[in-house]
């Protein structure tokens, strides 16, 4: 019979018990966050508490920024203004023509009974800072749930796709850059329309995976979004092919690309509105509702109903 004498001082549970409790809790959090992504509510709750501290931490930087803007001579702004006016004049011609072409395209598409090209709308946001996590490539922007940002929205800058909104907090949201490891963007090659998916490598480069060794890909090929994912609108530049390794011992070629957009830059980016879901043709919708998969009698007849965008 061994029994311990009562402790003189109340010190709570033993350190080892506390250690196992807290580490089990942390491990559970890690597991649920990595596997199920179901802890967004907890994340948002904690972020409400940490947001004021973050604001305080960024206040000196913002102040420094504003001060430098204030004290810079006015001539720089005048120069910039003049340059922008010139550039606008140069691009006005193209823009006017584009508008006319868009209208014409719209008419032609209507004639061909093809679904109209979707309009692009979005909100301009400011990148606040890069996330401190050294393992991933993410940035935080200054618009969140308050500005109706939702997870999954594509993000572009003036030259191409930057990434995708992955987490939304009340006042800020988190963008995963396309160079983050295994971040995927469905693309197609402009030159020949070949479709594929480009993956981030985590080191600032991208890789075009699952392309056969004899695929028609050349150095300098421009990849644009194919729009097949239903998230990105088609036609935005994503990356440029820089290096192709064709090794006969592998069935796939290793194709490395660099992003076109200033992915590592800080500045303003545009968060595009989520793409409206593409509805199935009425025939297919009624089939899906009835739950009976009828065998196709005429494959050619169905093809006519398929809509492209």
């Amino acid at each position: 019979m061994d029994h311990q004498p009562p402790p003189f001082f109340k010190r709570g549970p033993a350190p080892l018990a506390r250690l196992s409790f807290y580490s089990a809790l942390s491990l559970a959090l890690i597991f649920f966050d990595a596997r199920f992504q179901t802890l967004e509510l907890l994340r948002q709750g904690v972020s409400l508490l940490t947001h004021p501290i973050q604001q305080a931490a960024h206040a000196p930087m913002v102040l420094l920024d504003n001060a430098s803007d204030y004290f810079f001579s006015i001539t720089r702004f005048q120069e910039e203004n003049a340059r922008l006016k010139r550039e606008r004049l140069v691009s006005a011609e193209t823009q006017l023509r584009t508008r006319q072409l868009e209208a014409e395209n719209e008419r032609l598409r209507k004639l061909l009974d093809v679904k109209a090209r979707q309009q692009v709308n979005g909100q301009v946001t400011q990148i606040l800072y890069a996330a401190r996590d050294p393992f991933s490539r993410r940035v935080i922007v200054d618009k969140g749930e308050q500005n109706n940002i939702v997870a999954g929205q594509p993000v572009i800058d003036d030259s191409g796709v930057v990434g995708q909104v992955t987490r939304v907090f009340p006042f800020v949201s988190e963008i995963t850059l396309i160079t983050d490891k295994d971040q995927a963007v469905p693309v197609q090659i402009v030159r020949n329309g070949l479709r594929s998916v480009v993956f981030g490598l985590g080191n600032g480069q991208l890789e075009l995976r699952f392309m056969p060794a004899n695929a028609d890909v050349q150095n300098g090929d421009l990849l644009v979004t194919s729009g097949l994912d239903g998230v990105f609108l088609p036609g935005f530049p994503v990356a440029k092919v820089v290096l192709i390794e064709r090794d006969t011992s592998y069935s796939f070629a290793r194709i490395y690309c660099v992003p076109v957009a200033g992915v590592e830059n800080f500045g303003e980016v545009m968060v595009l509105d989520p793409r409206p879901p593409v509805t199935l043709p009425p025939v297919l919708t009624s089939e899906a509702a009835s739950g009976v998969a009828k065998p196709l009698v005429k494959p050619g007849a169905k093809k006519k109903h398929l809509k492209r965008d």
Partner: protein, 173 residues
Amino acid sequence: MQPTFSSSRILQPVRPWFIVLSLLAALLLNYLPTSAWMWMPDWVALLLVFWSIREPRRVGMGSGFILGLAMDVADASLLGQHALAYVLLTYVASSLSRRILWFPVGQQALHVLPLLLMVQIVQLGVRAMPGVEFPGLNYFIGPFVATALWLPLTVVLLLPQYQPVERDANRPI
């Protein structure tokens, strides 16, 4: 008679609000947009290890867990990654506190270095399981910088406890 070690000076009891304030200041320092500088030490880990060595009764695994969650949310990292690392850190630090306090400050820093390296290694292990790119050896510079800061940090954080109880105009400190 116990042998006296170098910091045998009798200190005032620490004020709880000072601990809280210093931990919040560390959180603020960690939130500064310094992600481009990999050598920046993890201030929260450094302060946690300091207080759990000095005051193991007041700062322990609970504070480590809460601050870890705060770091995870702000860092956009896996939820629980910092929490696990800080809980392990505070456990080891508080269980070694009696041993570490026996040494002069310079040698205390040598004890702290492996603890801070453990924080980085735990986080690397947690992130390596789902598969991430190794961020390079620069990732391990932070703990060495933090170790170099141990001496000035000890002086600064213990300053309030050096104050005498009764004010004496002729006393230097």
